[in-house]
């Protein structure tokens, strides 16, 4: 099998898996007062320190969560509620048109149920945000803005955003800035303090850790109203008994991914460049999507004119090649990607897209397998798509 879907999830690193299993054998609730509890707490706090050190944050800024979706929801809704709670007029959320659904749908929910007003920041044809647009948005509305949220790197087309610049614009207006850095950590350099953001989402299963564990890095001076009420385990912002083994494995993975980032990026981007070159050779009409340079090292995203991404995916899957259309499903039916549409693609181009993402276990053989299977798949997918016009 050629696994070319590391952006969906990537295999756990051996050291993370070993740390997980070793910890999972131990009993102990990190909130308990006895020895077993203290041992669990030590593991959690050491993990917190590791994550903080790896990502340029203070340990007290690390809030462990049940993964990326929860962190995004906590940042968006929690900061919105907290800020609007202080000043009721602050009911505007500024977000980008290319966010992951974990942010997008949280923002839409605030608009639908909490009377939030939304300022959507557009992207250019490469999927890039323009700090000038944020500057204009905040010049017009800063006193009404609860928060700005814009991802560090896009999960579909791989475009890396000018996050530090955007964060500086928000900071200039005293508005908290959240970034979903799930696809960025371990792929490009990420430093919480240096970036100037107020909140940052990271999740385990995209960087060699377990799924269902992540963190929100939340600056000390940024308040967030909890989504989950209970024991208040995490800074009173997040309740729920911590998954000690998960947290430990997550921290091991974050540390390893950050430490190995440069070497990883060099190796994987070379493999990716080779993939892109050979896909273009095999299918000359393909359109390469996303920013050609400011881009995640493992991401290659194409539109295949005259094909449906769905059909290509099915055909490649049958040849043992795992990739993704990158778009969300509604009732199991693929919708044209909001990211591609925001980049100015029409529906046909959006539907013809396919994402190949490489990761730490990728080899040249994976690329070879793709290139071997692709031309026949494209030909068949074209035949199938030509039937779509009603008879």
């Amino acid at each position: 099998m050629a696994y070319l879907d590391h952006a969906a999830t990537t295999p756990m690193l051996d050291e993370a898996l070993e740390a997980y299993v070793a910890t999972a054998r131990e009993v102990g609730n990190a909130s308990s007062l006895h020895a077993a509890g203290r041992r669990a707490r030590r593991r959690v706090e050491e993990s917190r320190e590791r994550v903080a050190a790896a990502l340029g944050a203070r340990p007290s800024e690390v809030v462990f969560t049940g993964g990326g979706t929860e962190s995004d929801n906590l940042a968006v809704k929690g900061v919105f509620w907290a800020r609007r709670g202080v000043v009721p007029a602050r009911a505007r959320v500024v977000s980008s048109a290319v966010e992951h659904h974990a942010v997008l749908d949280a923002v839409d929910w605030l608009a639908a149920h909490e009377g939030a007003e939304v300022g959507w920041l557009p992207v250019d044809a490469a999927g890039r945000l323009d700090p000038e647009r944020l500057r204009a948005e905040l010049a017009a509305h800063a006193d009404r803005v609860a928060l700005v949220t814009a991802m560090w790197a896009n999960n579909e087309v791989g475009t890396v955003q000018p996050v530090a610049e955007l964060a500086a614009v928000a900071a200039g207006h005293g508005v908290p800035f959240h970034t979903d850095a799930i696809q960025a950590v371990g792929q490009v350099p990420v430093d919480f303090a240096a970036s100037g953001v107020s909140a940052l989402t990271v999740t385990g299963h995209k960087l060699g850790g377990p799924a269902g564990v992540g963190a929100l890095l939340l600056a000390r001076d940024v308040a967030a109203t909890p989504l989950l009420h209970g024991g208040g385990q995490e800074r009173d912002v997040r309740s729920g008994t911590l998954d000690t083994a998960g947290v430990v494995a997550f921290a091991v993975a974050v540390e390893a991914a950050v430490k190995g980032q440069q070497e990883y990026a060099a190796r994987v981007s070379a493999l990716r460049d080779d993939l892109v070159r050979r896909v273009r050779e095999a299918v000359p009409e393909v359109i390469f999507n996303g920013d050609p340079t400011d881009r995640l090292p493992g991401n290659a995203h194409f539109s295949f004119p005259g094909c449906e991404g769905d059909a290509l995916l099915l055909l490649l899957d049958a040849q043992g090649i795992a990739c993704s259309t990158g778009s969300a499903c509604s009732a199991g039916v693929a919708q044209p990607s909001h990211v591609l549409l925001a980049m100015g693609a029409d529906h046909d181009r959006a539907r013809s897209s396919l994402r190949f993402t490489l990761g730490h276990t990728s080899t040249p053989a994976d690329v070879d397998a793709l290139i071997a299977a692709l031309p026949a798949a494209v030909e068949r997918a074209r035949r199938a798509a030509s039937l779509r016009s009603p008879r």
């Binding site: 499903c329 009732a331 199991g332 039916v333 035949r383 199938a384 030509s386 039937l387």
Partner: protein, 351 residues
């Protein structure tokens, strides 16, 4: 794979027969909302999950294909238009003709598949003849009889030699959770089962007269002729009883004058049936009249008849009269056979 027991077992049997099988669930509702709320019918979100789970248990890939646009234009719009024209359509038959063994089959073939496998209860053996299922109560050869030779040649019906009870047992044996899922009977795109309400919503109210066939007198009124089907007795709400005091039935619908004509049961009896667009798959297309059996609606009686094909029309002379023959339904000709009655051909009843 609809999410029901039949298609799940059909898929499992196709795998067991050595085929390289991919599961496909058809998304047929244009508005995903109707998926969520439609508790009945065959295209709810839950059905799609059931289908996916079955595919996982069988160990085959599974995809949802969006056929909503095609389904809407070829089946739903057609259904409404047929009623508006005073005919009684069979949407399952239409779906087989236009979606499952056309749009889906064509796409599948383009993608490199050889055939479409479904959980229909009918037999299709190496002789290429379509036959009734061994389970006569569940037989679906009637709604498959519209398929052409080319369509049948790319179809596989693995369940024809099993009764429904056997299919359920087999599903349980194979660990398929849908083993005891109830059958769906309703028209899948009318989630609440209210066909009249559905049609009224699309066609609006169109009040008109209910007329007695023998006297020509207006005996009642209706709010839309499309709400009636030939042979119908209930729901007529006649103002005046018939002179003979016997129940009256819908004899015909005349869209041009928006009239529903009623009369006694005997007047429903038909001995001659004309039908259009014949399809003949049970051997050579006959050039002379043939003796066979015909069925005039799903699960309807079977009567001996002489059938003649003449260009684009089929003519049937029934040996005994039949009640409630509705335009828009299919007439299917069968040849009785100890190995399972064979579908000879079919056509759409015009009168």
């Amino acid at each position: 794979m609809s999410g029901g027991v039949d298609s799940a077992v059909a898929a499992a049997r196709a795998v067991a027969a050595g085929h390289d099988v991919t599961g496909v669930h058809l998304a047929l509702a244009r508005n995903p909302q109707t998926y969520r709320t439609g508790a009945r019918g065959c295209c709810t979100l839950e059905d799609s999950r059931d289908a996916r789970r079955a595919a996982d248990v069988i160990g085959i890939p599974f995809y949802v294909w969006d056929m909503a646009e095609r389904f809407h234009s070829d089946v739903v719009d057609d259904f409404v238009a047929e009623y508006a024209a005073g005919r009684t359509p069979n949407p399952c038959l239409r779906c087989n003709e236009k979606i499952k063994f056309a749009a889906v089959l064509d796409r599948a073939v383009a993608l490199g598949f050889d055939a479409v496998v479904t959980g229909h209860h009918a037999r299709l053996g190496p002789d290429g003849l379509l036959r009734r299922s061994v389970d006569h109560a569940k037989d679906q050869s009637y709604v498959l009889a519209v398929l052409t030779r080319a369509q049948l040649d790319r179809s596989i019906f693995p369940l024809g030699d099993a009764t429904k009870a056997e299919v359920r047992e087999e599903a349980a044996r194979r660990g398929l959770a849908v083993a005891d899922k109830p059958d769906s009977h309703d028209i899948c795109f009318i989630a609440d089962g209210d066909t009249r309400g559905f049609l009224a919503g699309r066609l609006g109210e169109a009040p008109g007269d209910v007329v007695d066939a023998s006297t020509g007198a207006v005996v009642g009124s209706h709010t839309g002729a499309y709400q009636y089907t030939v042979g119908q007795r209930r729901g007529l709400h006649l103002d005046r009883p018939a002179p003979d005091g016997r129940p009256r039935y819908v004899l015909s619908i005349t869209p041009r004058t928006n009239t529903v004509t009623v009369g006694p049961a005997e007047a429903l009896e038909v001995s001659q049936v004309r039908a259009a667009r014949p399809v003949w798959t049970g051997g050579e297309r006959p050039t002379a009249p043939i003796e066979c059996e015909v069925q005039l609606r799903a699960h309807g009686d079977v009567v001996p008849a002489t059938v003649t094909l003449d260009g684009d029309t089929l003519h049937a002379e029934l040996r005994r009269p039949v009640r409630g023959v509705a335009a828009g339904q299919a007439i299917v000709a069968y040849r009785s056979d100890p190995a399972g009655d064979v579908v000879l051909g079919s056509a759409t009843i015009t009168g």
